[in-house]
């Protein structure tokens, strides 16, 4: 009964979305106040319906209603409650429903909190959002309905894929999807602006917070995904340049470019056309990120399985959304007049450089990701573009980005001199060179480059902050007080750059990792990286739906006990699958990583031990970046909303700047 209601609510949400798109886009042309007010209400209604529909699916999972095929295939009566809930989006159909739910949440947020946006623009934004979500809900209902039934129902479900039975499934997909889908708002703003033919500073001010929110979710989502991949064996470590990872990185790159170029739109009314294009590109790449993976076109360790007709539907939807918006851009972009002049060496110039390099990196990653499927389609040849390609092609391109990253924030708007900015950074450069020298002497070229770059970016960000609070130039107390009076966006930007530097530090540190693989019997020990790893015992253990072999490893340094670790191998009785649960201990600057591959026939077992220097900094840096975004979001100019000037403007479709 409840799943049927869920299906009904889903159909209702589709109907509302269709109404929302028609009324939202056509409304402003009718110049009727009632109609203009309808779109926000419809957006909220659509979210409520989809929310009910999603809850119905969760409920079906919780009570193990095996008449629902989705539950029968991906859940079972022995699956713990937590994974019965997360299993809802741990499969193809359910995850797209979650995707649609978040999309409607975005619309509802604009509807509920977008009061400062002119009504006609808001109506069009909601109309575009309704159009997109309508398309994808039609997809859900037509070819991948999670409420599809089977009769007779199986006695026990097949159970969730053992590898997905992990807390990572609870946080990673929803957060990542929020990041992907959030860019739909920036996209809708861009399309609405193209329809209206007007982009001004106020537009930049409306778009930027939405882009920032989705950017910080996307950053967190990629971070959690990378962490999950790090501790799961067989997924290639924290970053594998796997197609699925790349398609999440692509919107992140262009989204990062967007949140930088929107600053220029807002402050200087330049780069307007470019920002509109970036907003369209970012959401298009997000769509590709979610759906190319499901169309079966990309080949990945992380891919869901999908049937061919679903793939075709998805490709048509993608082509319509992306092609339509780009066509609109081609026709309407000349209307958006450029203004604002500046010299090449200026804050604008630095931000353009940032945009150029971010987009070029995105283009390289895109080429590397899409080349194999195209080659397979056209020439029927199977190749794979792996980590070595990206290491060679992408890493050199990040070097100028990293170099410019510390200098850019120190330049002033419109026209700046390079020399004063560089003199503020001389000791940072010296420190970076010292780090480079120290590691090059030990023969670690890649690590030396990475660590030096990290030092340069981190200290550069701190110098920027110190400059703003005039550290050491005015009394310390006053400097401290300035922290609270300077724009929070400035603090956010510094933190964002600092976080990026920290992440680079972690990635560079990872290249210094050491590992060994050994067979140990209880009582035996080995030495690795100054630590002594001793196997104490291997004991059986049981979990809710698996049995496990649990090893106890004592790690000591110079005779002092440092950690006791418990790597496990698990055997899932239902699916007859063995998984390896690694044990990881971190002290903040290095990770100890132990995996237990299985028993041997003499009472011992096979182990792999890793030491990952600076590994925690990868995710810490990502989270600090996201924190910077959040602080920037709380900036006064976003809290007080849009400038009054535009609020007084009459809603009309013909005004151009």
């Amino acid at each position: 009964m409840i799943p049927t209601l869920g299906n009904f609510a889903l159909a209702l949400a589709l109907a509302i979305a269709v109404a929302q798109s028609v009324i939202g886009i056509a409304g402003p042309m009718l110049r009727d106040r009632q109609i203009l007010r309808a779109a926000p209400a419809l957006a909220i209604g659509q979210f409520v319906m989809l929310g009910l529909s999603f809850l119905a699916l969760v409920w079906a999972g919780v009570v193990s209603d095996f008449t629902v095929r989705n539950v029968a295939e991906y859940s079972s009566s022995t699956t713990p409650l937590f994974y019965r809930i997360t299993g809802t989006w741990g499969n193809h159909d359910g995850s797209i429903l979650l995707w649609c739910l978040i999309l409607s949440l975005c619309g509802a947020t604009v509807g509920a909190f977008g009061n400062s946006i002119p009504t006609s623009l808001r109506s069009r934004v909601l109309g575009v959002l309704g159009l997109v979500s309508g398309g994808f809900m039609a997809f859900v209902i037509a070819v991948s309905n999670p409420f599809a039934r089977i009769w007779p129902p199986p006695l026990h479900g097949a159970g969730v894929n053992p590898i997905l039975q992990d807390p990572g499934l609870a946080v990673h997909p929803p957060i990542l999807y929020t990041g992907y889908v959030g860019f739909s708002i920036a996209f809708a703003f861009a399309v609405a602006a193209l329809i209206e033919g007007r982009v001004d500073a106020a537009w930049g001010r409306w778009v930027r917070p939405w882009a920032l929110v989705s950017w910080l979710f996307l950053t967190c989502g990629i971070c959690f995904g990378s962490l999950w991949s790090y501790y799961t064996l067989g997924w290639g470590g924290f970053w594998f340049w796997d197609p699925v990872e790349n398609v999440a990185l692509l919107p992140w790159l262009t989204g990062t470019a967007l949140i930088h170029s929107a600053i220029v739109v807002e402050k200087r009314e330049a780069l307007k056309t470019w920002s509109v294009l970036l907003a369209i590109a970012t959401f298009s790449l997000s769509l590709c990120g979610t759906f190319l993976v499901r169309s079966g076109l990309l080949n990945s360790v992380h891919a869901f399985s999908a049937s061919p007709d679903q793939g075709l539907f998805i490709l048509v939807l993608l082509a319509l959304t992306i092609g339509g918006s780009l066509l609109l851009f081609a026709f309407r972009a000349p209307v958006l007049a450029a203004s604002g002049v500046f010299a090449p060496v200026s804050r604008e110039g630095a931000l353009i450089l940032n945009n150029i390099f971010l987009c070029i990196i995105a283009a390289v990653v895109f080429t590397g990701t899409m080349y194999p499927p195209f080659l397979a389609l056209l020439f029927n040849r199977q190749i794979s573009v792996g980590a070595p390609f990206y290491d060679q092609a992408v890493l050199p391109l990040t070097a100028p980005l990293i170099l410019a990253m510390a200098v850019g924030p120190l330049l002033s708007w419109k026209r700046a001199a390079l020399l004063p900015a560089l003199t503020k950074l001389w000791f940072v450069a010296v420190l970076a060179l010292l780090v480079f020298g120290a590691f090059i002497l030990r023969g670690h070229f890649v690590a030396a480059l990475g660590l030096a770059g990290a030092v340069w970016v981190m200290l550069g960000a701190l110098v920027d902050l110190a400059e703003r609070i005039r550290l050491f130039r005015i009394p310390l107390g006053q400097s401290f007080m300035r922290l609270f009076t300077i724009p929070r966006a400035a603090i956010g930007a510094s933190l964002g750059h600092l976080g990026f530097g920290i992440a680079v530090l972690g990635i560079a540190g990872m290249s210094l990792q050491t590992h060994t693989i050994r067979v140990l019997n209880p009582g035996q020990s080995i030495d690795l990286g100054g630590y002594n790893w001793k196997l104490i015992s291997i004991k059986p253990a049981t979990g809710p739906n698996y049995t496990a072999r649990d090893a106890t490893i004592e790690v000591s340094r110079n005779g002092h006990l440092v950690e006791i670790m418990h790597p496990e191998t698990r055997y899932f009785t239902n699916q007859k699958v063995k998984t390896v649960a690694a044990a990881i201990r971190s002290n903040g600057v290095r990770n100890l990583f132990a995996t237990f591959a299985g028993d041997n026939n003499s009472g011992g077992g096979e182990f792999r031990f890793n030491i990952h220097p600076l590994a925690p900094e990868i995710w810490l840096g990502g989270l600090i970046m996201a924190l910077g975004g959040a602080i920037s979001l709380s900036d006064r100019r976003f809290r007080v909303g849009a400038p009054v000037r535009s609020r007084l403007r009459r809603p009309s479709g013909s005004a151009t700047v």
């Binding site: 295939e73 064996l233 067989g234 997924w235 992380h302 500046f342 353009i352 199977q382 995996t595």
Partner: protein
């Protein structure tokens, strides 16, 4: 302050420089680090040179997985088959959880000297619901062993349909 035209020129120059660098880097990287996917049949036919990294995918042949120890370091040997040929694989390291006989697998590595065995440096497991890597699916289709249209992939037992002698014969022939 410079004119708009001049500024545009600067941007175009910067973009052009960046793009040409990127293209050059990509071309170099494509030449040196593309790795091909090969099915056992292709390996048997083409004999890739020792040390050349490629991806080998297929089904883990039933009853061929053997674990051993060499100087305290454990290793695993197994054979990967697509039903037409079968290649012995040596892997040193911890196998991912989803690795088992009769299942699709993709490994990254190179042939050893003398074309004897495939030395895998990485064994990948997929987290999709059907556990069948796409490359492997294609290889199986080409070998005429399985078409997804006609149901799930053959199970572990079905891959035992050739005796090692037969496989040796097909390898040599």
């Amino acid at each position: 302050m410079m004119s708009r035209k001049k500024r545009r020129l600067w941007i175009v120059i910067a973009c052009g420089l960046g793009l040409s660098t990127a293209v050059a880097l990509m071309l170099v990287a494509f030449r040196s680090s593309l790795s091909f996917f090969m099915s056992p049949q292709q390996v048997a036919a083409r004999h890739p040179p020792a040390g050349r990294v490629f991806r080998l995918g297929g089904i883990v042949q039933a009853n061929t997985v053997v674990m051993g120890t060499r100087d305290g370091a454990p290793y695993t040997t197994f054979r990967i088959t697509d039903g037409r040929a079968s290649i012995p694989v040596v892997y040193t390291g911890v196998l991912p959880g989803l690795f088992r006989q009769g299942q699709g697998v993709v490994t990254i590595g190179a042939m050893s000297r003398g074309d004897r065995e495939f030395l895998a440096s990485t064994v990948l497991a997929k987290h999709g619901a059907d556990y069948m890597p796409r490359d492997v699916e294609m290889a199986l289709r080409k070998a005429g062993k399985w078409n997804p249209k006609f149901g799930p992939p053959p199970n572990a037992g079905a891959w035992d349909d050739k005796s090692p002698a037969q496989i040796e014969a097909s390898n040599n022939g």
